[in-house]
Assembly symmetry: C2
Homo-oligomer: 599 residues x 2
Amino acid sequence: MKNTLVMAQLNPVTGDIEYNKNKAIECIKKANEINADLVVFPELFLLGYPMGDILGRYPNIVNQIYSALDEIKEYVTNTSVLIGYPEKNKNKFGKPFYNSVAYIQNKKIIKSIRKSLLPNYAEHNDYRYFEPYDIIKEDRIIEINNIKYGVIICEDGWNDFEFFERNLYHKDPISAIAPEVDVLVCPASSCTRAKKEQLKHNMMKHTAKKYGIKYVYVNQTGANDELVYDGLSRIYNEKGEIIAQAKAFEEEFYAVDIFKGGKVNPLPSGLELTLNSQKEFSLDHKPDLERTYKTITVAIKEYFSKNGFKRAVLGLSGGLDSSVCAVLLADALGSENVLGISMPSKITSKESKSDAKKLAENLNIHFKEIPIGDMYLSISEKFKNIFGEIQDDFEGRYSASYTQDNIQARSRAMILWGIANEFSSTLPVATSDKSELYMGYATINGDMSGGYAPIADVVKTKLFALARWMNENRAVKNVIPESIILKPPGAELAINPKTGKPLLAEEALMPYEFLDEVIWRIENLNQSIDNMMKSKFLYEKNNILDSKTKLEWLKKFFKRMNTALYKWYILPPAPVVDARSINKIEFKQPIISNINYEI
Amino acid sequence: MKNTLVMAQLNPVTGDIEYNKNKAIECIKKANEINADLVVFPELFLLGYPMGDILGRYPNIVNQIYSALDEIKEYVTNTSVLIGYPEKNKNKFGKPFYNSVAYIQNKKIIKSIRKSLLPNYAEHNDYRYFEPYDIIKEDRIIEINNIKYGVIICEDGWNDFEFFERNLYHKDPISAIAPEVDVLVCPASSCTRAKKEQLKHNMMKHTAKKYGIKYVYVNQTGANDELVYDGLSRIYNEKGEIIAQAKAFEEEFYAVDIFKGGKVNPLPSGLELTLNSQKEFSLDHKPDLERTYKTITVAIKEYFSKNGFKRAVLGLSGGLDSSVCAVLLADALGSENVLGISMPSKITSKESKSDAKKLAENLNIHFKEIPIGDMYLSISEKFKNIFGEIQDDFEGRYSASYTQDNIQARSRAMILWGIANEFSSTLPVATSDKSELYMGYATINGDMSGGYAPIADVVKTKLFALARWMNENRAVKNVIPESIILKPPGAELAINPKTGKPLLAEEALMPYEFLDEVIWRIENLNQSIDNMMKSKFLYEKNNILDSKTKLEWLKKFFKRMNTALYKWYILPPAPVVDARSINKIEFKQPIISNINYEI
């Protein structure tokens, strides 16, 4: 049909050219059948994204891609195609590839459109392999059935001189082509993060209005290791209104008359509330909970299936972190594919044990209780002897240490990895959360060890909110027992001598409400201790906090954070959820980095 | 003295502005005393390099650096100074910083010279934070006592159009300034790698001769996490001859008359042999052994001291890897700061036990033997019960698995981490080598776990050579017992049913000579299975190898490598030694990356 454009919102597998090619061909055939004017695939679709160093390390991938293009073009008959691929740079100068989009019509590759703005911040690393191409207006314009399309590729659209206060690049590809075309088309690979949808929407709306132009944005879905793609491909009209929007977090062949528009699928619920920027820390995590839930479940599903795993095994402590992980895993993999193990020690309370069991029953996952008291005792006894012998000629034994705590955490991880070694297609899961990882409150080879770490980018106060949200919004309500949500978090690895009860996390650390705001201020405002001392925390509005204690907490935070850098270095892959994360695909701080965090 | 230039070959601490500033001031004072014309510090000296994301995350570092510069300039009297720092980009466009060198004279910052070519390959990531600056000839030229100096910064010097077959950048800063100056000055932060010295030397020699110009190159020393800097600052004369060269791998205040030259300190021994490129795989690792030894010992020393650790604990199996690690640790930290633990199981041979002990005695390190038979038995027994229970409703139990092997490796790691938790300033060390990491022949939370992994970038055949080299070249000869070097490697975790003896690594994998050449071909030639089938391996010159077996080995290699990607992801920091490594600071391959390695 005339004026029909297909947004091919698909999920590629990085490096699997055969798979991506077949997916493309299938889609082109469908587009031919409906006589669509144009099918648009996401950025670098034939290769998959992100790609790491595979282009440099395995140069034959590029030959495979060129063969795939040759095969694909034979299917391009009734429709025209824009499909992303890495194009060889045949010049003597520059990086070896361009980040390109092939324009295919009537079985011919008419030309390649090359990306000019190459992002190299956060998770992006385009400049590592791609040469930025000059902005040449004519190259970027194509005409189909009397409609002129101007093609930009992802970051090419992120440099409007009015919209941004500061621009990363000196040139704006859109301003060069928009005045001459009817429709902007933007193939993209843009991963989901907190606050990003809001920024992206405002920016594209601004552009569509500014130039009085249609704006077609085609994003990928699926996930690769840490990055999750939310789809939500869309079309803006000349007034900056969304007239068509594909589903969130799902593959879709979305055919639409670009003049009439089509179904506007909703954003994850609550997300529209974030369309005004959050300038202060808030405990109201609600606007981001469905997006967070979907991001993590898609991440898990993709990581497991694309790597050939089916099943997860995790420790169920009866606490919040492992309970939330269990629900996310059950929803991502199917409850029949999740095995929860309660591994109580002497310190574990009766409630924790019964809560863990109840959660497993509610979720209908496999469940076993394996007490570790015997293992802990025998290792502890052995250690006593070892340390006694060693201290004779190796000085500096601590009078108090975390050794006993860690024996418990490491025994549990040993059991989980043992099960993963013994049963096919099974991956152990690390349940550490972001608040605790910032404080290094996680045991190496213990609770922070696993094949994947689903909630490593979610702070504790948000996890509480997510638990409540899942209890309310899943088909089966209230799977997480209320007692788990009400219980103050604690690792149950040691007794607090002051209370005689298991040490609570907030006793060992500081109140989570305060802790999470420190993290928020670091990640969103880049604040130092000095800045934070001058700022009023939400916690201070509801509690009395003298400045001496505040300073102590802040110093403790940064001191612990600095020694946690090693733990971040060996953190398993974890989905990026927040606007900024400690995930190593994004945040790079040398372990050796003696920074003065105070000033 | 007239014409005297100081190469300030120093070791900064990343992020520790106070420390770096004081180091700079001390050096400037000494230069004032001898009335040097000019002191040249390494690239980004005030910040330290590499820097990760600390500029973006902690913006106050930049203010600290500006204050430091203000303080430093007051000391600049008799001498002039070139000192590297991140300069704010105050324009509305571009990345937030320039990679700059401040030119200070008579207590005034005269100007800043900005880097134009920003590397973004291998371990480099300059473009993440720095804006490339146009090549403006006048900006880069300074004149002192009638000598004209042209300043380039590290990568600025790596783009000669004749020297390289292919150029990463379109412009060459040297060609713009060399014709107008007497001396090129290049502050750099250039880490050591196999084959790099050869390339660097040939390139600088070419440049000095081409323009008939002196070339001063000032590199840093020390290390940061994975990267080690070999110093070797130097001056080439107009004929391309080295007329002065600072020490390798050591700090030095090297004052020299640039016309007369000075002491030419030697390269690490053997390295001059590599000044012709190695085009084929060779088992003669000799030319690179002293450099390898120095790289790793400096890396260990720096990682421990800069992070506040003093002592290392490691498992001594009586095998090659742990023995080599023990020697390197003793030399880096002092033998009194190394604790070797022999942890024999039922499978461990008598020879392994006595070899471990003998090595420790020879090295004069602390030593304990802690049998793990009891721990293994009780955990193994517990696992039997656990698995029995689980298999009732969790299908897919393997008939043969690595579970038993891994219990041993994990028990050992648990002991080492326990000791590190219990004794102050002590870090456990991972002893995995590069050949075995490529094959995933390492246990998660077992032998691959530790605070640092000294030999993770050294292949097995080179480790044998390194062991022999250390036996010959250390002050105390032959600390590694000959029996350790002669013994075929094996993890001693399982019995080979065919031989009834502990399974050897080459039985589980393939001959190391072949394996190491596969790695060499991937890293140096980017070859696929198909390429390798068409190539003749060194192994094939000395052994009969039918193509069916060769293909099997190659397929096995890539299959195992692909499943090892997760292990690389959680590998502890390890010094980069080879021309290419699997270290995550350099090599980035998504764990999800279904590549066809065959074609």
